[in-house]
C-alpha cells in the first residue's frame, strides 16, 4: 500500500489536553492565547503566549511521576502527549514488535537550566537537573516512561523539527527498520525563547494575526503532539483502525539567511514540491493547506509566495498558530494532528483574528469552520536555518 498508516495520536496545547478538547476549541474558535501566568518573565506585560495552564507539579502528578524527579517541563509535556497517543492506538505491550521513538525538541531542558544556571554552583539539591538540559535526555525521559527499548533518537531543526520526525518515522517504517514508531515533538515556553524572539523584534504584544496585512509578529506557545505510525503488516494483523495515511513528505533548505526566509519562498516551494512528488499527487489534488503561518511579516509573505508558485489556484488554508501560538519544535506534529482531524471529520478550521489580506497578493485564509470533503491535506513547517518540511496526509 502507498504511504504509511497513522494509528494513534496524542496532543497537549493551550487549547486542550486531548485530541477531542483541541478539536472542540478549533470548532468553537476558542483561542489559547493569553497573558503569561505560570511563566515568569520581565516581558509579561507586553507579550501574549499560548500557555498550558498546568504547573509542572500538576503534570507530574497526572503522569504518576514521583515528586523527586528531574523531568523538565518539555519532557513532561512530551510524555503526556506520547502516552495519550499510545493509548489512542490501543497499545499495551510496547516491545511486542520493533518499536521506536523519534522525538523532536528545541527548548529541551532550557526551561529549567535558565532558572538554575548560576545557582547550580551553590546548591547541590538542584543538581539533579543538570543532565536534563540536553535534547537527548528529554527524549530519553519519554522513552523510559513508555518502556521503549529499541531505536530512539531526537531531531532538532528548530521549528520544523517534529514535522521532520514524522518524515523520518515514515521512512523507518517503509524501509522495514521498525514495525511501529512514535513520532512527534515537544517544547515548553521558556524565557530563553521569549527573549530570543523578542531580540529579533518579531513578538506581537497582541493576539497573532496570520496572513494579515497588519500582522505584528508571533505569539510563542508550548505543547506536544505525537503520532503512532505502524507498518501495513501490523495494521492487517491487528485489524487496527487507520486514522490517516502519510503519503507525502519533503525537506529542503532555503539557504538564504539564518533566520529570515527568502522573498521567493524557495525552500518552502522545494519542500512542498518534493512532498507532492513523493505522494504522486498534483497540486490540484490538495484540498486543504495547513500553513506554517507564524504571523511574522517575513514568514507569511514568503510562504504566500511559495503557495502561489505551487498552486495555480491556492486551496483553502488555515493558520492554527492563531489558536495555539508558535509551539516551535512541536508545531509540525500539532499541525499533523489537526490535519488528520480535518481528514476524519471533513472540516477545515478557521484562522483567527484575520482582517485584511496581505497587499502583495490575493490570499485570504479560511476564517470559518467549513464542512467539506477532504482527501489530501498539506501541512508546512519552516524553521530557523532555512529548514523547510512539508507533509501530506491523506484519507485512508
Amino acid at each position: 500500500m502507498q504511504g504509511v498508516a497513522v494509528t494513534g495520536m496524542g496532543i497537549i496545547t493551550s487549547i486542550g489536553l486531548s485530541v477531542e478538547e483541541n478539536y472542540q476549541s478549533l470548532l468553537q474558535k476558542k483561542s489559547g492565547i493569553s497573558e503569561a501566568s505560570i511563566l515568569k518573565t520581565f516581558h509579561a506585560n507586553h507579550i501574549k503566549i499560548g500557555e498550558i495552564k498546568l504547573e509542572n507539579a500538576q503534570l507530574a502528578e497526572i503522569l504518576g511521576i514521583p515528586e523527586d524527579n528531574n523531568f523538565t517541563r518539555t519532557s513532561l509535556l512530551g510524555t503526556f502527549a506520547a502516552l495519550k497517543a499510545l493509548r489512542h492506538a490501543g497499545i499495551n505491550k510496547i516491545n511486542d514488535m520493533r518499536t521506536g521513538l523519534i522525538s523532536a525538541t528545541s527548548v529541551a531542558g532550557m526551561d529549567i537550566t535558565e532558572l538554575y544556571f548560576k545557582e547550580y554552583f551553590h546548591n547541590p539539591s538542584i543538581r539533579k537537573y543538570i543532565n536534563s538540559h540536553h535534547t537527548g535526555d528529554c527524549t530519553r525521559k519519554i522513552a523510559d516512561y513508555l518502556g521503549i527499548r529499541g531505536l530512539v533518537s531526537t531531531i532538532s531543526t528548530a521549528c520544523s523539527s517534529s514535522a521532520n520526525a514524522i518524515m523520518l518515522g515514515a521512512l523507518l517504517i517503509k524501509n522495514k527498520i521498525l514495525d511501529r514508531v512514535i513520532v512527534g515533538g515537544t517544547d515548553a515556553l521558556s524565557k530563553f525563547t521569549i527573549n530570543g524572539f523578542n531580540s529579533l523584534m518579531i513578538l506581537s504584544d497582541s493576539d497573532n494575526t496570520p496572513f494579515d496585512q497588519n500582522r505584528k509578529g508571533l505569539n510563542l506557545g508550548e505543547g506536544a503532539a505525537y503520532l503512532i505510525l505502524e507498518s501495513w503488516e501490523q495494521v492487517k494483523a491487528t485489524h487496527k483502525k487507520v486514522l490517516a495515511i502519510i503519503t507525502g513528505y519533503g525537506n529542503a533548505n532555503d539557504a538564504y539567511h539564518q533566520t529570515a526566509s527568502s522573498s521567493t519562498g524557495e525552500g518552502a516551494f522545494l519542500a512542498i514540491q518534493k512532498s507532492l512528488e513523493k505522494a504522486q499527487l498534483s497540486p490540484e489534488d490538495i484540498d486543504y493547506v495547513h500553513v506554517h503561518g507564524t504571523a511574522t511579516v517575513n514568514n507569511d509573505l514568503s510562504e504566500g509566495k511559495a503557495l502561489l508558485r505551487i498552486f495555480s489556484k491556492v486551496p483553502p488554508f488555515s493558520a492554527t498558530k492563531s489558536y495555539t501560538g508558535h509551539t516551535l519544535a512541536a508545531a509540525g506534529a500539532i499541525q499533523a494532528v489537526y490535519s488528520i482531524l480535518s481528514l476524519q471529520m471533513n472540516v477545515t478550521f478557521p484562522t483567527l483574528n484575520f482582517n485584511t489580506k496581505i497587499k502583495e497578493f490575493d490570499l485570504t485564509p479560511s476564517t470559518d469552520v467549513v464542512n467539506t470533503n477532504i482527501t489530501h491535506v498539506l501541512s508546512n513547517a519552516f524553521g530557523f536555518g532555512g529548514n523547510c518540511c512539508s507533509l501530506i496526509f491523506s484519507k485512508c
Partner: protein
C-alpha cells in the same frame, strides 16, 4: 534489510590533534582533562561577514565539511546531515548569561539565532548555497550514528547520491563546569587511564568530523558503510542486538577483524565496553578517545579512523587496545554507548 549501497568517499576533520598527525606513524598528543582543538585558519575559506558571528563549532563544521567534499571531489552534496550532542553550546551560553545578567533587557539577537542545534548544518548549506535535504540529530552519544542511519536511508531510497554527514560538538565554559558537577567530565585531579580507570568521568574535548557518503564506489573510496543499529536500552539483550546485525549481514563474530569501542577512561562506562569486548575474546580491539578526547560525537572520529585503516589496510599501533592483531582488515565493527543507553553498532567493510 540494509544493502550494499553506501561508500565513504571523503573525510574532513578538526580535532585536538594537529592536521599533520598521522596515526599510522605518529603517537598522538597526550590527552589532558580538558582539551582544545587545533583550529586551522578559517579566514581563508570563510568570508569575514560570516566568520565574525561564528562560534567554534560552526567554524570547525564548515572546515571539516569542505575538506570532506574536496576529498570526495564533489562541489555540492544532495543532502547535509549532522549529529551533535549539545548543539551550539557557546552561543546558547552567551545568550543565557546575558539574559540573566541584564535581567532580560538589552539583549541582542546574534547569539540567539545561532543557538538552535541545526545551525552548523544550516550554515554549511548557506555557505554552499545548497538547497537540498538538511537534517540534524541531537541524541547524546548516538547523534552521529542517527545521522549515519538517515544518510544511509537517503541513499538507499535514491533520494540522494552524495550525502555530507558529520558529527560536531563544541564546549562552553559554564556548561562544561556544570558537566563536571553533573559528573560527565573530569575535574583537574582525576586520573586518566583507559584500561584500568579509577575516576568516573571522561576527558573533555571538541571536534568536527565530516564524511561524504555516496552510492558511487570509487577507486579512492575508503570503505563501505554496510549497516547501522541503534538501541535505546537493550539491558541484558546487548548480545542479542549484536548478533542481529551480524546475522543480517551474514557475518559471524569470528569474522569481525577489528572492534572499535568507545572506551573513555570513565570507570562507570568501562564495564559496558568490557561486556562487548568479552564477546570478542580473540579479536583485535581498538579505541580512539585517547586521541580525540570525549564528546558526544567523538564516535565520528572513531568512524574516521576505521575508514582510513580499511583503505590503507594497516592496523596502527596508536589505536590498539589489546594485543591481538587482525589477520586481515575486512570487517570492522564500531560500538558505542553511554551509561547503558544509546547503544550503536556500525558495520564498515573494505571495498
Amino acid at each position: 534489510m540494509l544493502k550494499d549501497c553506501c561508500y565513504i568517499n571523503g573525510i574532513g576533520s578538526v580535532s585536538i590533534q594537529t592536521s599533520a598527525f598521522d596515526m599510522f606513524k605518529d603517537y598522538p598528543v597526550p590527552l589532558q582533562r580538558n582539551n582544545k582543538p587545533v583550529h586551522p585558519s578559517y579566514k581563508e575559506i570563510i568570508p569575514p561577514a560570516m566568520l565574525r558571528r561564528m562560534a567554534p563549532g560552526i567554524k570547525m563544521g564548515i572546515f571539516a565539511a569542505l575538506e570532506a567534499l574536496r576529498d570526495a571531489e564533489i562541489n555540492e552534496p544532495d543532502g547535509i546531515i549532522t549529529g551533535t550532542g549539545m548543539g551550539c553550546l557557546l552561543d546558547s551560553e552567551k545568550f543565557l548569561e546575558a539574559m540573566i545578567e541584564n535581567k532580560e533587557q538589552h539583549l541582542t539577537p546574534t547569539y540567539f539565532i545561532h543557538s538552535p542545534h541545526n545551525t552548523v548544518a544550516a550554515q554549511i548549506a548557506l555557505y554552499l548555497q545548497c538547497k537540498a535535504y538538511n537534517m540534524t540529530y541531537s541524541h547524546g552519544v548516538s547523534s552521529f550514528e542517527a545521522a549515519l542511519l538517515d544518510s544511509w536511508l537517503q541513499i538507499q531510497n535514491q533520494f540522494a547520491n552524495y550525502i555530507l554527514v558529520g558529527g560536531v560538538d563544541e564546549s562552553a565554559p559554564i556548561f562544561d563546569a556544570l558537566c563536571v558537577l553533573g559528573k560527565t567530565f573530569k575535574n583537574p585531579n582525576d586520573s586518566i587511564d583507559f584500561h584500568n580507570p579509577i575516576s568516573d568521568i571522561s576527558c573533555r574535548a571538541e571536534g568536527a568530523n565530516f564524511f561524504v557518503l555516496s552510492s558511487n564506489k570509487k577507486q579512492s573510496s575508503y570503505a563501505r558503510l554496510t549497516d547501522i543499529s541503534i538501541y535505546h536500552n537493550p539491558e541484558d539483550d546487548f548480545q542479542k542486538m549484536l548478533d542481529e546485525i551480524l546475522t543480517r549481514n551474514q557475518i559471524t563474530r569470528k569474522e569481525i577483524d577489528i572492534v572499535f569501542l568507545g572506551y573513555n577512561a570513565d570507570v562507570l562506562q568501562q564495564k559496558y565496553f568490557d561486556n562487548y569486548a568479552s564477546l570478542f575474546s580473540n579479536t583485535a580491539l581498538a579505541f580512539y578517545q585517547h586521541i580525540c578526547g570525549s564528546f558526544d560525537t567523538a564516535s565520528a572520529y572513531g568512524f574516521r579512523i576505521a575508514a582510513e585503516i580499511l583503505r590503507k589496510q594497516i592496523y596502527p599501533q596508536s589505536i590498539r587496545y589489546n594485543d591481538v592483531c587482525p589477520k586481515k582488515i575486512q570487517n570492522v565493527l564500531l560500538i558505542n554507548q553511554a551509561n547503558g543507553y544509546n547503544h550503536s553498532l556500525v558495520l564498515l567493510q573494505s571495498c
